[in-house]
């Protein structure tokens, strides 16, 4: 894999913009909430612009790692500040940019502790960006924890519905995950005997024995998998999503869960391909159980956000199934599904968030007839729901399709079960749509305003991204291929 170094450190620029935004927000007086929001929007918009630029400036013909920057930091331990992007991480950067920007815009009407909220969100996203672009194990771990810690405060302070419980549960789970990751990282770094945290050096074939890889992979898989909502470590996800405020749900389900899957890919699979192959079948089983289980458990839920939480479990199961196939197609489909699911859940949570903000209820039974009172809000919700159902020409269809095909080739039984879950998934999501949006006009909500133009902007962005990548999936697949094909070809 070639590594192309950058003339202008755009990747660092993204991090610096986040950091700068954070400091600007901290420096702004608490009372000037409007200015804080503007600063947030502009900074997040800049990172989005940078991510879009990177996405299109990446040379797909050359492939490999590009826009690399490397500064040795602690030479004696082999720790360096090493950022670069490839076909796997670019879609994630783009996703982060989109969800970050739209998430900030979604919270435009926030009034409670504005300054702290946006500051924490910036800190969180800083970690997320850092993790996606870093290629140094030490930094990966640091960024991982940077992105986790603001989560607790964001949920516990601004959340709803058993927020302390949700925040605590989430934090404990994720910390348990990171408690598995750190020993595995250190174990590998020590076992390599190379005295380096550099991912590229460590992933040379032959660095680790198969037994070492098998052992470390389990730790990575569970550690990162907790964040990715792998069954049976998923129960934090619905509870946490329910408790979190809208933007945090968006960023959380949209981006943070992807950190988990991306960590499994970038750290687990990159470093321990033998372990990956060894455990693949089990991964496939867990993922399939997650897919089926998510939709079935979702059927019984009475809270809108719980429903989405469980559908996330199911959709992230598809990512896991793709990773478990050990094929290029599986990887492609999984990464695409990560992207699509991120956008889709962001839309889901932003529309549910709007409904909740206005009606102050998430109980499905109390809603109904929203299409009459707020046609736009429910239209966004329905579009998200249809994306979740897997309607073609909306983004997530392609990821599912490719994953299903590749898994059907490798594990026919799992593939069949996963496809079968589609029908139940349709039942469960459409039932929710019917109960919330359809039906006679509900007098209780008749006075509520529909989505204003300003609040519609982020949702429109999300919808157009969904449709764009639904109609032209090759935009993303061509990108992912540049990473997945050489990677699989390089495996022994």
């Amino acid at each position: 894999m070639p590594t192309v170094y950058a003339d202008i450190p755009i990747l660092s620029a993204i991090l610096l913009i986040c950091l700068g935004g954070l400091f600007l927000i901290l420096a702004t007086p608490r009372k000037e909430a409007a200015r804080i929001k503007k600063i947030s929007a502009v900074s997040s918009g800049l990172t989005l612009a940078a991510a879009v630029y990177l996405f299109f400036a990446y040379d797909r013909g050359v492939g490999g790692l590009q826009f690399a920057e490397k500064i040795s930091w602690i030479p004696s331990l082999g720790i360096s500040y090493f950022n670069a992007v490839d076909g796997f991480s670019l879609p994630m950067l783009l996703l982060t940019g989109i969800v970050f920007f739209t998430g900030i815009l979604t919270m435009w009407e926030l009034t409670e502790r504005v300054k702290e909220f946006f500051a924490l969100v910036f800190l969180l996203v800083l970690g997320v960006y850092g993790l996606f672009m870093s290629l140094d194990l030490f930094f990966i771990f640091v960024w991982y924890d940077v992105s986790l810690f603001p989560m607790y405060l964001l949920i516990a302070v601004w959340g709803s519905t058993r927020k302390e419980y949700g925040a605590m549960k989430l934090t404990l789970y994720l910390l348990a995950g990171s408690a598995l990751i750190l020993p595995a990282l250190l174990y590998l770094v020590v076992a390599s005997g190379l005295d380096t945290f550099d991912l590229l050096q460590l992933m040379d074939p032959g660095t680790f024995t198969p037994a070492q890889q098998r052992f470390a992979f389990v730790l990575f898989y569970i550690g990162f998998g907790i964040l990715a909502g792998v069954w049976p470590f998923h129960t934090w996800s619905p509870v946490g999503h329910v408790a979190a405020p809208t933007a945090v749900s968006m960023i959380h389900a949209g981006v943070l869960m992807k950190i988990g899957a991306f960590g499994v890919l970038r750290v687990g699979i990159f470093l321990c391909p033998e372990g990956w192959k060894y455990w693949a079948e089990l991964m496939g089983l867990l993922a399939t159980v997650g897919i089926v289980y998510g939709v079935l458990a979702g059927l019984r839920q009475t809270d809108l956000k719980y429903v989405i939480g469980y559908s996330s479990v199911s959709h992230m199961g598809i990512v896991g199934l793709g990773l478990a196939t050990v094929t290029v197609d599986g990887l492609n489909g999984a990464v695409y599904q990560m992207f699509a699911h991120g956008i889709m859940t962001a839309l889901f949570f932003s529309s549910v968030g709007y409904i909740y903000d206005k009606t102050h209820t998430k109980a499905i039974a109390e809603l109904g007839g929203l299409s009459k009172t707020m046609p736009k809000a429910s239209a966004y919700f329905i579009i998200a729901a249809l994306t979740g159902v897997g309607v073609p020409c909306l983004a997530s269809f392609w990821g599912e399709l490719v994953v299903f095909i590749s898994s059907f080739r490798v594990y026919p039984l799992y593939g069949t079960l996963a496809v079968g879950a589609l029908a139940v998934g349709a039942l469960f999501i459409l039932r929710v749509v019917q109960k919330t949006c359809y039906g006679p006009e509900n007098a209780k909500w008749a006075h509520l305003p529909d989505v204003s133009f300003g609040l519609a902007i982020p949702r429109m962005i999300l919808v157009s991204v969904i449709v764009l990548f639904g109609l032209f999936p090759s935009l993303l697949f061509d990108m992912i291929r540049t990473a997945s094909i050489p990677f699989m070809a390089g495996l022994p």
Binding site: G369, F397, G420, Q434
Partner: protein, 628 residues
């Protein structure tokens, strides 16, 4: 065998324009024109006119074409998974495209009158455009993946249109039911595609129908054929997934006419015809198809015999006619199935549109209610409906007669006479239930008729010009289409003789006519003649009537299945597992950790004596250590 075309080819360019126009209209309506009802309608109708013109042009240009034309580009390339997007122009796709474009066009014109004043007028036309795009693209798909994509989109637009009046619980329920039931079929379809992909390595329609499938293992062929047929069962509402279609009548009547009788549900039959050479390689699968077609045909005929809802009768008859088509195809006659598909599209759309006029004017679906409100005074609608019902029943010289004859002929060619017998029974029942409806409406019992007429809807203007013109065009097609059998047969299979497959049985047409007439007379005896008490022979056996009216309890079965097995069974299990096992397990684990850490924390109780005690213990231990 096929010729590969480029983008600049006039055929391909026309096709793409014809397909893309409705999509653009859909986008334009939802992006900007939603507030302007007339503009939306104009955009949509303009787009469908473009499609219609394109379809007619293509049909004319390729009427004598030798080989199918293929244009293919790449939609998505992963690694081993490659999904092409393309256009396949061959007789079946051209014919279907024309049928779809014509019906779409007529229904959209008709809707101008029918939907006038509805608050969701623009939305309606937007969804109509979406449907037109998806359906046209479906017919022209060159690969099965692409076909699947548009298949799903057609399902989506059907969902949206059935639930168009979403305030009505029954409408949203029906939309959901339709989507989920067809989705269940689609799961099988998708799996079938996967099996086919694994077996044959490609999903290109021409390849699957040709050499690629021949290399496959025969059992794999049967498996994939059966699974793909699952999709057909769902979309074409065959047994056992048939109950969504009658419920789908909750949608606006033009939607029922367009989607749930003429085009969308026919997509299943179209897929069958599309993969006909492939399916044919598996006789076992064809046998299963024949059984399912026959069962669906008979079941739905019985259901139609007791229904009081005018649209539901036509819905049941749609299922039954689709069953006929599948019987014809499964019997091995490509032409019979496709021809019946074409003629059925015409007369069924006509039936629904006429019903729409009646419903629009009298504001009721109940046939006795219509009769009471003097529905027969809507002269144009009643004439057209009678004509179409006669076509449905297979009365010569209407189109239905010819197409049904060719299906009967195809069935007669089979070894087992039971299929022919079943089909003949179906002919009898069809004529009976069609004319039961007609006679009930035309000859109301005098004691029931309201003295005052309607609600100001006079007989003359039941159908406006927009609605009326669509009726007239379709009625003309119903009259004329039957005589196009021979040229169509030549066009479709290159052989005019295909119009009469199987051995020539001179008595067969007479048997068909005789049975149709028998059904008609039975209906007359029970419902038409002045002294009749308008009570069918089925209704005299209450158990049977209840069985039919409850759709053979298929719905009850599904409702129980979903509520018992899925809702209260599996879903309950999963949700409880989440709460009671996983969560509770973790909670218990953490509780125990907290409790056991309490032992350690006793040392840290902050009481100095405990610390001293520990210190003491440590001193003692150190002493022991040094001794040892």
């Amino acid at each position: 065998m096929t010729t590969t075309a480029t983008l600049s080819d006039p055929n391909v360019a026309t096709t793409l324009a014809a397909c893309a126009a409705p999509l653009l209209a859909f986008a334009a309506i939802f992006l900007g024109a939603r507030r302007f009802a007339r503009l939306s309608a104009g955009l949509s109708i303009g787009a469908v006119t473009v499609s219609l013109a394109g379809a007619v042009f293509l049909l004319a240009a390729n009427w004598h074409a030798e080989a199918p034309q293929v244009f293919s580009a790449s939609w998505l390339v992963s690694d081993a998974v490659r999904i092409p997007v393309g256009v396949l122009l061959d007789p079946i796709s051209l014919l279907m495209m024309t049928v779809v474009a014509v019906i779409c066009f007529l229904v959209q014109i008709y809707s101008l009158g029918y939907m006038a004043g509805d608050p969701g007028f623009s939305r309606y036309y937007g969804f109509m455009s979406l449907f037109a795009w998806a359906m046209l693209s479906l017919t022209l798909s060159s690969s099965l993946f692409q076909l699947y994509v548009f298949w799903e989109l057609v399902g989506l637009s059907s969902y949206l249109l059935i639930g168009f009046w979403y305030e009505k619980f029954s409408a949203s329920q029906a939309g959901k039911k339709a989507f989920v039931m067809t989705r269940a079929g689609d799961v099988a379809f998708m799996l079938g595609l996967f099996v086919l992909l694994v077996g044959a390595g490609t999903l290109d329609v021409t390849a699957v129908n040709g050499p690629a499938a021949a290399r496959m293992n025969p059992s794999l062929i049967t498996l994939s054929a059966l699974l793909i047929f699952g999709g057909i069962v769902g979309k074409s509402a065959q047994f056992p997934l048939l109950t969504w279609l009658p419920d789908a009548m909750e949608g606006p009547t033009p939607v029922s006419a367009l989607l749930h009788s003429a085009t969308m549900v026919a997509a299943g039959v179209f897929l069958f015809a599309r993969l006909f050479p492939f399916f044919r390689q598996s006789p076992a699968a064809m046998g299963v198809f024949l059984v399912i077609g026959t069962v669906s045909m008979l079941l739905s005929s019985t259901m139609a015999m007791v229904s009081r809802d005018i649209k539901q009768v036509w819905a049941y008859s749609t299922i039954s006619q689709l069953g006929f088509m599948i019987m014809g195809l499964a019997a091995g006659s490509f032409f019979a199935g496709v021809f019946h598909l074409t003629t059925h599209a015409g007369f069924k759309a006509l039936l629904f549109l006429c019903s729409g006029v009646v419903i629009h004017a009298l504001d009721t679906n109940d046939m006795f209610e219509i009769a009471r409100k003097k529905g027969r005074r809507l002269k144009l609608a009643m004439i057209c409906m009678t004509l179409a019902a006669a076509a449905l029943a297979g009365i010569p010289p209407l189109s239905g007669f010819f197409s049904k004859e060719s299906i009967l002929a195809a069935l007669a060619a089979l070894d087992n006479p039971i299929w022919l017998a079943a089909a003949l029974l179906g002919v009898l029942l069809t004529a009976y239930y069609a004319f039961r409806l007609i006679f009930i409406i035309l000859f109301p019992r005098p004691e029931l008729v309201q003295p005052e007429s309607g609600r100001g809807h006079g007989s003359g203007h039941g159908a406006g010009t927009a609605m009326g013109s669509a009726l007239v065009v379709l009625a003309a097609a119903t009259l004329a289409l039957g005589f196009a059998a021979a040229p169509l047969a030549r066009f479709l299979s290159g052989d005019p003789a295909a119009a009469h497959p199987g051995p020539h049985l001179p008595w067969l047409p007479y048997a068909g006519i005789g049975l149709a007439a028998g059904g008609l007379l039975l209906a007359w005896f029970e419902f038409g003649r002045p002294a009749a008490d308008q009570k069918g022979f089925v209704e005299r056996v209450p158990a049977l009537a209840a069985l039919f009216a409850n759709r053979w309890y298929i719905d009850v079965f599904y409702a129980r299945l979903i509520s018992r097995l899925v809702d209260r069974g599996l879903a309950w299990l999963c949700a409880k597992t989440d709460q009671r096992v996983i969560d509770a397990g973790l909670d218990a684990a953490s509780k125990h950790i907290i409790r056991s850490s309490g032992v350690l924390s006793a040392l840290q109780s902050g009481m100095i004596q405990h610390r001293l005690l520990v210190l003491f213990a440590v001193v003692v231990m150190l002493g022991l250590y040094f001794i040892a």
